[in-house]
């Protein structure tokens, strides 16, 4: 009985405390938007950078994170303050894209980075409505040019091609695999097509087993167990190089290979998007390289260009796409493999070699 009494007393105290504090904040609560915004907006035309993630987290060890790091690097060079001059919103549901962008517009942000191909439409709509705000859409190919919107896109097929060429040269079994996000997202398809073309370029008879995540798009990039189980399945079928391309799903595949017997000597893995040696240390035992797209430096570059020169890059901007360094595998990879990769990279660069994707 006394036990109950204590509970009641405790809850009463808490209720009282909350009521009191609610009273004290009641006054400013009415007009918080007006309170924070005007001073910043009326001061010298400063830069405020907002980033809207795709469904997922800002530190997803994948493309959201790369884009955010690009923002952070630009902001640091400009001497901005985190949380005030630059911040992010993590999208919870795909229906919220427009609302989240609007959140930044309302708060007076003048550079807005939206990450992921799915935000394309919402970004275009917002850019048309707000010609004074500079938008950067990562992975959003623009079919029509808006003066204040950059579609930051990449030749994923080219870095995929290099990854495939590397995989085919490393493979001893003649079987390589790819564990992929979803074909509902074009960049993933580009990686896959490039990978397969690159592998066939080295060895026309190579067997490539690859599969996309079977589920809906919301799950395709966040299902590490499927990625891991599928990587195991590929290993069981004799694949000895596995390309994990699909956010956290792909990460699951990489880690599975890293903990498989023979990791780093008989079986290898190749990461995606960023240099996953840095972002996913757990994959290091097998990670020979990553098929990168340089989101971070490109975002930084575009923002700085606007901040320093006032230039909004219109239309599409192609960021770099390349293989990541080999790190600990530097010595284990034969020189002729490296030479071949350099030769292919050069040929892709000058256009004498085509990946065959998108034709």
């Amino acid at each position: 009985m006394s036990n109950k009494g204590v509970t009641v007393l405790l809850s009463m105290v808490l209720v009282l405390a909350l009521l009191l504090s609610a009273c004290t904040v009641a006054a400013p609560a009415g007009a918080p938007a007006a309170q924070t915004q005007p001073p910043a907006a009326e001061a010298a035309p400063s830069i405020k950078i907002g980033l809207v993630t795709d469904v997922g987290r800002v530190n997803d060890r994948s493309f959201n994170q790369s884009a955010w790091e690009g923002v952070v690097q630009a902001a640091q060079q400009l001497g901005l303050k985190e949380g005030e001059d630059y911040k992010y919103i993590e999208t919870q549901d795909s229906k919220d894209y427009a609302d989240n962008i609007q959140q930044f517009i309302d708060a007076g942000f003048n550079v807005i980075v939206t990450v992921g191909f799915a935000l394309g439409e919402a970004t275009i709509a917002a850019a048309k409505e707000n010609p004074d705000i500079y938008f950067i859409g990562v992975d959003q190919f623009q079919t029509e040019v808006l003066p204040n919107l950059t579609g930051l896109v990449f030749h994923e097929d080219q870095s995929g091609f290099l990854a495939g060429a590397l995989a085919a040269q490393l493979s001893k079994t003649g079987i390589i695999a790819a564990v992929l996000g979803t074909d509902l997202v074009p960049p993933v398809v580009a990686f896959k097509e490039g990978y397969e073309a690159g592998a066939r370029y080295i060895n026309p008879d190579i067997r490539i087993i690859s599969t996309y995540h079977p589920g809906e798009i919301a799950q395709a990039f966040t299902d590490p167990e499927w990625g891991a189980a599928t990587a195991k399945q590929a290993l069981d079928q004799g694949a000895d190089v596995i390309f994990g391309a699909g956010g956290i799903t792909g990460n699951g595949a990489l880690q599975e290979v890293a903990s498989a017997p023979g990791a780093g000597t008989d079986v290898f893995c190749i990461g995606v998007d960023t240099d996953q040696w840095e972002t996913l240390p757990a994959a290091r035992p097998c990670l020979v390289s990553s098929a990168m797209k340089m989101i971070t430096p490109s975002v930084t570059e575009l923002i700085l260009k606007y901040a320093n020169e006032g230039v909004m890059t219109a239309g599409n901007y192609f960021g770099g796409a390349a293989l990541a360094p080999f790190h600990d595998f530097e010595d284990k990879i034969p020189q002729e493999v490296k030479d071949k990769l350099a030769e292919i990279a050069a040929a892709l660069e000058d256009g004498s070699l085509s990946t065959g994707y998108g034709q």
Binding site: E225, A228, T230, K232, L235
Partner: protein, 348 residues
């Protein structure tokens, strides 16, 4: 009822024999040249099946323990997720320990938190007479919210359980590779099926538990403390679901991810019902589901079909629907499920 059960068992045994035979044939003879046979019976498909089934088996066992004593548990998904998150937190905070103790600590914490979720479910539904479906839903939402809110996305778990080959048995061709070269929690799940079957049907505890689910009044009359049994078994069930979460983090993936249970709790529920609230039945259902998933992946990996992949991916779900409406017939849940039990004269 008895006859259906016997027929089902015969079918199950025949299927097992058929699969073992085909697995030997396809993996050891020139039949392995045939892509379609490989899709259906290769070692990789069988390995995938077992691996995909483990969390479903544990989840379904959780459901069986709760429901056999009369507590409906649709919150398996939440218990599993809580267990997974707990295992991850435990593992990351003991990364500096040697690998094995750290992993086992993760398992212990997963069991503990799963058990606590079970206790919460029991308190809600017994002490506070909350509708048990609502209570289960609360657990699911709560686990999803709390694990996402507290998830430190910079934390990295180092290492996971590796395969342990059982000496001797693992040398058997094909079978050794599929059944006797697995990580520890997989063996645990399979052993638990047997343990719980024996427990439920051949011990006093089992008899009493089932009595609480079928006819609590009668159980009470002969001196069984109905609500104590319900508390105990719901907590035990929660621990099993927690273990399923621990499997995902400590054995399957090695990391945590929000919502990583991805509906496995619900599919466990389906496996439990499909298996007619029997441990072996549920295991069979879980294996069937795991197999159809393996099949779907094999088909896509082999690239043998030009059917749009979405239709290939429907296989597990359509097979389940056909199976529950086709040959299972009407299953019979414990009679007193979902009803609050009050002893005579007890009221507020």
């Amino acid at each position: 009822m008895q006859r259906t059960l016997r027929v089902t068992s015969y079918i199950a045994i025949a299927l097992v024999v058929f699969f073992v035979l085909m697995a030997f044939l396809v993996n050891l003879t020139p039949l392995s040249e045939n892509t379609w046979l490989r899709v259906f019976f290769s070692v990789s498909a069988l390995n995938f099946t077992l691996r995909a089934s483990v969390p479903l088996i544990l989840g379904a066992l959780c459901g069986i323990l709760c429901e056999r004593t009369g507590i409906i548990n649709i919150g398996i998904e939440g218990m599993m997720l809580a267990g997974a998150f707990a295992a991850f937190v435990a593992k990351t905070s003991t990364n500096h320990w040697p690998l094995m103790p750290s992993l086992l600590f993760g398992v212990a914490i997963a069991l503990l938190v799963g058990g606590l979720m079970g206790l919460l479910h029991a308190i809600f539904s017994i002490r506070y007479r909350m509708d048990q479906i609502i209570s289960g839903t609360v657990l699911i939402i709560l686990a999803g919210g709390v694990s996402a809110y507290l998830f430190d996305r910079n934390a990295v778990a180092q290492g996971k359980f590796g395969a342990v080959a059982i000496p001797g048995l693992s040398q058997i061709p094909v079978l050794g590779e599929v059944l006797f070269t697995n990580p520890p929690l997989t063996y645990t799940a399979l052993i638990l099926v047997v343990v719980i079957h024996i427990g439920l049907f051949y011990t006093r505890w089992g008899l009493r538990s089932r009595a609480c689910g079928e006819h609590p009044r009668a159980a009470d009359t002969v001196g069984v403390n109905v609500n104590r049994f319900r508390y105990m078994n719901t907590v035990l069930g929660g621990m099993l679901a927690g273990l399923a979460g621990g499997f995902l983090v400590l054995e399957a993936v090695g990391q945590f991810q929000e919502g990583m249970t991805a509906g496995r709790g619900f599919i466990s529920l389906a496996a439990m019902i499909f298996g007619n609230w029997m441990p072996f039945g549920a295991m069979g259902a879980a294996l069937l589901f795991g197999y159809t998933q393996a099949l779907q992946n094999e088909l896509l990996l082999a690239g043998v079909t030009t059917v749009p992949r979405q239709f290939v991916s429907m296989i597990p779900y359509v097979v389940t629907i056909v199976a529950v409406s086709g040959f299972v017939g009407r299953v019979r849940p414990p009679a007193a499920e979902g009803k609050v039990y009050e002893t005579e004269g007890e009221s507020e």
